[in-house]
Point group: C2
Chain length 255, copies 2
DNA sequence: CAGCATAGTCTGGGATCCCAGACAGTTGAC
DNA sequence: GTCAACTGTCTGGGATCCCAGACTATGCTG
């Protein structure tokens, strides 16, 4: 039992408004099973702090700009990086190749972390440096994350006119093509990208889903396949370790 | 004085973590002037709800994925649309041209509302339909919003490789070119776009800044300039009304 | 226009939450 | 290895917050 029920109710209001959209006070009180007067008191505090806005014309309440601000702040001060870094360092050593942590940002992925095994830590030929953004549709990390979204969410995310820009001319160039690829990758549980970002390199990516079912990024490994007789099989072989790393990160996020 | 101090403190913790980044519990207690034990109780509730994550290795606390979720939910259930719609309907009638409400979304603008005067309400030639996204650097709305950001924020937002994609080959194509344009537009208090989106059309845009100094979107008006002897002066003449509409929306958001 | 349902505000007292401070554990400096 | 500073947990009681419910205001329907 929470030691601060007012705090629990306050956060419950934020979550309920996030899930349901604009709502009346009576509906919010019912959803959280708290007295109407308490609900109005909490809504008043939330409104003063900018987390909620009152819509008088509709007699409903909705999330306010402070909710957006802390959402953006979360992206800026990403806890995943602190929690994920040791996991990725270990993964890079184990697989002997460069690994990344990425987040979905609209129709793009942004690379948050990049670790290489000590034996190869020299100037990287890979373009996927930290901070770089690439179209989600043509990256293993991006597609791993898109695969966790509903069809409607994918359509919304990919509505940008620049969503299907391709560096190498490869990869899906329409929503229907992307859907086919995602269907296949949902089934296999990982995304595979072969030369869509950089010729001669292939990647596999696995989404990070925390214990509450929330998408929290993706882990990927990139392999130089030219000269490798096993071809794509050599990168696919790393899927179990990548998945294990994604699950470790998810577990740490849920603590 | 707040009637629910626990709620006030809870939201204060979220805001402080958003502003300062990962922090120790002692620092948070000091920032909010609340007892250490109360701070730990509130952090426990916030962590259970996913709004905060504990970083044991650093002995610090940081925002968690629920903060991001309600930030994204805010974008989905935008209160601005409900509050802004009557303001934009009135503005469209008054200026006699199409007007828009837009939000910044990474390096792009997304059009949230589009209103035209009744006398012209036929199939629009304008591409700026609701839901459409366009590069911020080449739109009046986008530049009006970018002009409110710091140089560092502009660099971060515009780091996407697709940020400077141009439909008509006009408009700034580099960060330094954009900075020059933004400097000029900061001085004038509005953004002016002439044919960068669609030949023969010009737009002016003004950012919406609420009473707490938060960026909350932009309002713009678009005019067909071909055949108009006054040229750009005819669209610039609408800046006072656009600014007034932006201020009205800002005031409503702050209630 | 009347009636009804719901929104939003207000009040006072009993239930309980918040606080001060003690305590154990951890970390880093010397 | 010792010590200081800080982290994190726990406790009990007085201060105060939360609740039930009354009341006014508003909007919709017939």
């Amino acid at each position: 039992m929470s030691k601060v029920p007012a705090a629990t109710s306050t956060l419950g209001l934020l979550r309920t408004l996030a899930n349901r959209g604009p709502s009346t006070a009576t509906a919010l009180a019912a959803a959280l099973d708290i007295p109407r007067s308490t609900t109005y008191h909490l809504l008043s505090v939330l409104t003063d702090a900018g987390f909620v806005v009152h819509l008088p014309d509709e007699r409903r309440w909705t999330l306010g700009p402070s909710a957006f601000e802390i959402g953006m702040a979360y992206l800026r001060h990403d806890p995943r990086e602190a929690l994920a870094r040791p996991v990725l360092i270990e993964l890079a050593e184990r697989v002997g190749h460069t690994v990344h942590l990425a987040a979905l940002h609209g129709s793009e992925v942004v690379y948050l972390l990049k670790e290489s095994p000590r034996s190869t830590r020299r100037a990287s030929t890979l373009i996927t440096d930290v901070g770089v953004r690439l179209p989600a549709a043509t990256t293993a990390s991006g597609r791993a994350m898109l695969a966790t979204l509903s069809a409607e969410q994918v359509r919304a995310v990919m509505s940008s006119p620049t969503a299907f820009v391709s560096r190498t001319g490869r990869g899906p160039t329409s929503l229907s093509a992307l859907r086919s690829v995602l269907t296949r990758e949902r089934r296999s549980g990982y995304a595979l990208e072969d030369g869509e970002i950089l010729d001669g390199y292939a990647s596999v990516g696995v989404a990070i889903i925390d214990s509450a079912g929330r998408l929290a990024g993706a882990v990927s490994v990139t392999v130089h396949t030219i000269g490798d007789a096993a071809g794509l099989d050599s990168v696919i072989a790393y899927v179990p370790q990548v998945r294990e790393a994604a699950e470790t990160i998810a577990t740490r996020l849920s603590r």
